[in-house]
Amino acid sequence: MLTPPLNEEVEISIFGPGYGECILIHIGFNDWIIIDSCINPSSKEPCAVEYLSNIGVPLDTDVKLIIATHWHDDHIRGIGKIVSTCSNATFVCSDGLLTKEFVTFIKAYGARPGLTEGVNEFDIVLKSLETSHRTPKYASAEKALWKRNGPNGKPPCCITALSPADFAIHLSKIQLKELFPQENTTKRDVVAPQPNNVAVVIWIEVGDIYLLLGSDLENSPDKRHGWAAIVDSNLRPEGIASVFKIPHHGSKNADLPEVWEKMLIKNPLAVMTPFSKGNVSLPTLEDINRIKSQTSEGYITAPPRVKRVKKPKIVEQFVKGATKSIYQANSFFGHARFRADLKSLPIDWKTELFQSATSLNSLKV
């Protein structure tokens, strides 16, 4: 039974992977934050819009912030609808993203509907912002994105970006320039460049509760960006988080032990979504064991690798003959929800798992 959180309750809801992930945060007193977006495979609706509507949250007034941590297709599907529906929310994206080159690139591809869904989503976002006269906000390391000072008995809340670092923004601008189509080159779908340098990591402080949401940020050998830059920063907000959205689907290259040591409480509540691309599936068994060694409170919105849905025999025969391998891209869809009373100390998180969501301890890999 889906019920709205109480006024004095913090809620973290993680959905995925309808292809991608979406995080909803209730920071108390009917203020909501949406981070990224994915589509519910059953209803084909953006999870955030669907869930908030189901629990009776007025989208046009109660959603304060919509954050697109990066523009990869698996994090922004349906975000266009969210931005247009939540008409008073501030839209946040990574600094360096809305350059002239990138917006031109969006406009060029956006004029070709059906070619690239991710790019089209961003085009819808820009059009929505334009028609509603909203200016997007840029996220970069140590920048406050939203603040509630706590009048009328409401607990104070501050949402801060911990990334991208300046150097990552610089790298991203170079990367985006290369995406821009050249005259007389063939039109193709856009395949997002790797590595992802500018994922926005979010730090949320509400009352005595601290949350670290890791987006898809990975480690870098260059300490000027990636997780090392965040850990080493003396400008990041103080505090240790009790909830950790594990970055990049639990992959090893996004895990830095210092994050667990310096930024999180012992045995934090840790949650992630799975991911698969071709024969790569995250998290791996090794990843799961590594995360379990850090916390006994690990959760995932769906098992990392699922069997393909079998098709008619004739299809399977041709597929077998024509391919070296084939995997289902989308794992089962799930929703993990955590709620805690803002006034109770120590913080006691109530966990609820819906659809395919499960704890790492009970996961059969």
């Binding site: 031109t104 059906g114 200016t135 024969n279 098709k311 041709f318 024509a322 995997y327 891209a329």
Partner: protein, 219 residues
């Protein structure tokens, strides 16, 4: 009942268009525009190879714009070679109607029907030595997205040169029913022939981008 000439043409065009559309998985108008002229290719053949069949003659057909320039023919060979069975050629040869009536065989007599079990839209993500990784999206939305490594040996020589990161293709698996009624299992992978970016399009995008950035207050 005989149909008036223009009605016959219209009916014929509609049928041929739907056949090509059904079988080719072409969803975007850009490519459809290219294919429509090709539908007249076999009519051109009828006129050129059987100039005495009708009283309308080749000139009339040209007046009706049924003749396509030679240059465009090669673009559409794929359609004729893939979807239009040679049996139609034989039918037309054997059953030439008397002048002045233009004879069109019934649809079921002249077409190759394709009944697909699944139609995927694919995008190339990575290219390896003997295969390419791609994302497959079920066009009917009945099954979840999949990612496959498709062997290069499955791709026609004509299409091999089109494989690149971001290249789009369609993969249909189903039954092909020939005009004779015989059915064969069939798997067709066809890469889209996408046009190039034109300078006008890029300039237009640039203008739109400038307008958007000003409107958003971040110019």
């Amino acid at each position: 009942m005989q149909l008036a000439k223009s009605e016959q043409y219209d009916q014929y065009d509609q049928e041929r268009l739907s056949i090509a559309s059904d079988n080719s998985n072409i969803n975007d108008p850009e490519e459809k525009e290219k294919i429509i002229p090709s539908l007249y290719m076999d009519r051109k053949w009828e006129v050129i190879t059987n100039p005495d069949v009708t009283s309308y003659g080749q000139v009339s057909f040209q007046d009706c714009k049924f003749i396509v320039p030679q240059g465009e023919a090669s673009v559409d060979n794929k359609i004729n070679s893939t979807y239009i069975d040679d049996d139609k050629f034989n039918l037309l040869q054997k059953e030439i109607p008397e002048s002045p009536v233009v004879w069109y065989p019934l649809k079921h007599q002249r077409t190759t029907m394709f009944t697909s079990f699944i139609k995927w839209r694919g995008v190339v993500l990575k290219i390896y030595k003997d295969c390419f990784l791609c994302r497959l999206v079920d066009q009917d939305g009945n099954s979840p997205d999949e990612e496959a490594e498709i062997l290069l040996s499955e791709i026609s020589d004509e299409d091999l040169q089109l494989i690149d990161i971001g290249a789009v293709f369609y993969w249909s698996i189903g039954y092909q029913t020939n005009p004779s009624g015989s059915r064969t299992r069939s798997s067709i992978i066809r890469f889209r022939r996408l046009p190039v970016w034109r300078s006008e399009e890029l300039s237009e995008a640039q203008k739109k981008a400038e307008k958007t950035l000003i409107a958003l207050g971040i110019a």
